[in-house]
Amino acid sequence: MRAGPVGRAVRGGVARRRVQTIVIALVLLISTGASVLALALVVDSSAPFDHSFAAQRGAHLAVVVNPARATRADVAATTRLRQVTATAGPFAALSIAAQLAGQAGPNGSLPPMTLAGRPAPGGRVDDVALQSGHWADQPGQLVLGVNSASDVQIGLPLGAKITVLSAPDHPVLTVVGEATSVTNSADGWVTPGEITRLHTPGTPGSEQMLYRFRDAGTAAAVRADATSVRAALPSGAVTAVQSYLTVREQETSQIGPFVPFLVAFGVIGLVMSVLIVANVVSGAVVSGYRRIGILKSIGFTPGQVVAAYTAQVMVPALVGVLGGLVAGDLLAMMLLRQAANAYDVGQLSVPVWVDVAVPAVMLALVAIAALLPAMGASRLSAVQAIAAGRAPRAGRGYAAHRLFGRLGLPRPVTIGLAAPFARPARTAITLVAVLLGAAAVTFAIGLGSSLNRVVGGLSHAAAEPVQIYRTSQNSFIFTAAQQRTVQAALAAQPGTRRYVAETDDPITVAGLTGEHPLTAFRGPAAWTGYPMIKGHWYTGPGQAVVSTGFLTLTGKSVGGTATIVLGGTPIPLRIVGEDFDARSRGVSVITDWQTLADAHLGPALTEPGQYDIGLRPGVSAASYAQSIGARLGSSYSTSLNTRNSVVVSLMLGLIGTLTVLLALVAGLGVLNTVVLNTRDRVHDLGVFKTIGMTPRQIVAMVICWVAGTGLVAGLIALPAGIALQHLVLPVMASSANLGLPASYLSVYRGPELVALALAGVVIAIVGALLPAGWAARIRTASALRAE
């Protein structure tokens, strides 16, 4: 079928303006990809647990049943309760003690693990996500639960073997896969038959049932659901119940502080993508005004002109959007998998509506950005359109040429610097594109630095990289003898710089609901890495350092007093400092151990549950942990305080990826502008070459067309990016009930500022290099013939 006149005009326009066609396609590809990634990130980060929970059909309740007290029929009856919507199980379950095969002694010991026997990972409830390897399908195989929230680093690779010490004959299991359950329903999975093999005869067995309910949105609803299940089973059949809300609370508190920053950056990324797309597309149509005039002069109606020009832009835009959707999904899948690990949720994915909404919005944006100038051109007469599409109006830029001509710079440079003033509208659009790109870079650098400090402040990994706990299943409190043992070991261990015993108790606070953490240190502890926002660290008993959320919610302030209740005993405290602490949604208290002793509380509330250790400079935390662990033996376990570094690495990776994409799009916007300028001024380029401008001088001149604009954009973007960082971070932090120490905002240093100020000119120069080279290679004779 022959193309009509509009189709031919579109085909000719697309083919003839190859560079512009490619630029539009690339800009849409990158912008769409960045938007898919940013939006998926925003959506999934705003409630990562909820998204993952929904995607994996997480269990509202995990119920452990004693099979000796409840028959299969009893258990089956619970699946028919009115409020139950789906169930999985019963799965035979077992707690095991294990060690690395072939490594007896403390070095090989592993923490206790709960295993469940499941024939397959999928199901209507608790759809376990296999991350690597394969599901256990034979005896002797183990799928390990990936649980980055674990305080003990297991880190078993595929193929690792463990000896189950708690089972008869000490069988060996081989790790064949890694998987995640959004509610951590088990530490590992084996075949159902394996549970029987691992079970010690004579000991009580257990079975795990997983439930989803019609109404489980609140703690009260979940409690009611648990009550109904318990009531449906014989008395004493239920030995344990875990609500998903407990897991959700834990995960949310871990990642809560970081999410708002990521959301802010994701939103900025989306806005930038949209603005740059509009910039490039409208510029592409405006540059075609002369051709529009010619089409009109040969008989195209205004409607045909609009159709031709809109279609000419939509063709590459569609290609770019589809490509960007695929690329964005692939990139998002990769990064969201890491995010899920860092967030410690099972699985995150790109919501389907994102895959529909982003392309639709992008294409609509392109259509509008193309339609508006095309409709404007269609209303002009042919002569007016041709005139509008020619070189800039006489009179524009004269003063700039005079001014720059007086500078003692090489003439090609001064001509190039003055050129943007001849096309103020196009220059403004380019300036905005570069400004956004440079502002994104500035904001991202600041955000990354701030996040680094935030995570350092939350994890205290720099101050206390190693912690020691008890491994007893009965009590985690260190007895007096154990305290002496640990202290002696720490004193003898090379690399120990300092340490402090830490007691953690749940307290209630007058005026606040629920329980909140109290930390009491026995010894000097100001070094443990809690960043101070106001006031100072406590200097004696009866004093406390509290978090921002505590002050906000109680209405107290530094210098005031507050009463906490621990073990039923009210304890008055004088608030001497405010610190940066995200525990319990930003509500926490730190005090001296003597405060608890003076309140005459029992050892269960006063004795320490962990030791925090600071290392000498240059000492490897991993080596130290292994060494002290060997010294102390299997009654104690060591932990490396590095979990949150995974989160911040992910955050920085995501921010870096988005920033690079946005800077790339800004650079493409510059490239497009320079190509348009080159086309406008091709005749002038011929004249310059005729009178003796060398190719290198042409390149310098063309780069200067945008370098000045880039420099100005960068100089504006620097304070804008910094202001954005200063504005966004405190707002986002307060949404998580956090205050920020001043040092977390003032992260830009002198040399960094200089480099960031040049970000705009760098983006402009990089975007201009390619078309500058093309301009230098233009055939002079052909250029002179151009109108």
Partner: protein, 259 residues
């Protein structure tokens, strides 16, 4: 034309080599723009001596502008050699050609090819600045040329405000600022009225009298007859006639025949 104008041309650059050597030499030059299309020039050979004024005449599409572009180094031959002022310009790089043009060639175009966003003075100054002349020297040279061409009153005006004749004077001043040995003019009076065209023609004759070698592309036989000492006729990419002036009467010669 009066003496002060003649003196204004003082210092015209000379060609290298002995007076007998041609300042422009084309040998077997062919130019083909498209592989399957007819060549714009076919094995053309032409010598032009220093100080000559040669008109190149032919109908539209005959290859006369292509010939001029090759001499100016604005384009490259598909085959053959182009030697200008003793230099094989067909072998020069783009940078070399740009530098060569600055020093040796002044170009004058039918539609002036001035830069609209620079003043008259800045337009004339630009080649001198590109050639590295000091600011003072360049400005002095510009003032001299504007005065000689009687357009000094327009030095701060923009080309859009000038008449055709005034613009062509500006273009001539720009072409002369670096004292080139060669002046190449492509239809210099084509966009001008008759009277103005005659003025410009006179200017060109003066320049030739002062020592500049002049190659003039035109379709106007009167212009060729009045201001050139020799006319080369070109058609379909071939030189088919090479007349001396006055009294052109030599028989037609096969294409590419040297004088």
């Amino acid at each position: 034309m009066d003496a002060d104008i003649r003196s204004g041309w003082a210092g015209a650059g000379g060609a290298t080599g002995s007076p007998a050597d041609p300042v422009i030499q084309l040998s077997g030059v062919t130019k083909q723009y498209e592989d399957d299309g007819p060549p714009a020039l076919r094995a053309v050979s032409l010598d032009i001596a220093p100080g000559e004024a040669v008109a190149v005449m032919g109908p539209s599409g005959s290859g006369k502008s292509t010939l001029l572009n090759l001499i100016a180094g604005l384009d490259r031959p598909t085959s053959g050699t182009v030697t200008v002022a003793g230099q094989r310009i067909d072998r020069l790089s783009e940078t070399g050609l740009a530098r060569f043009r600055r020093q040796r060639i002044g170009m004058i175009f039918q539609f002036f090819n001035l830069l609209d966003d620079l003043t008259v003075a800045d337009n004339v100054l630009l080649p001198a600045q590109l050639a590295g002349l000091s600011r003072r020297q360049a400005r002095a040279r510009v003032a001299e040329l504007l005065a000689t061409l009687r357009i000094e009153q327009h030095r701060d005006a923009y080309p859009a405000r000038l008449s055709g004749g005034e613009r062509q004077r500006v273009a001539i001043a720009r072409a002369l600022v670096n004292r080139p040995a060669l002046l190449l003019a492509d239809e210099p009076t084509g966009a001008l009225d008759t009277a103005t065209g005659e003025e410009i023609g006179e200017l060109l004759r003066e320049l030739n009298s002062a020592g500049h070698t002049l190659v003039l592309v035109t379709h106007n036989p009167d212009l060729a007859g009045h201001y050139a000492s020799r006319t080369v006729h070109i058609a379909d990419g071939l030189i088919f006639r090479n007349d001396n002036q006055p009294g052109a009467g030599q028989p037609a010669t096969p294409a590419g025949v040297r004088r």
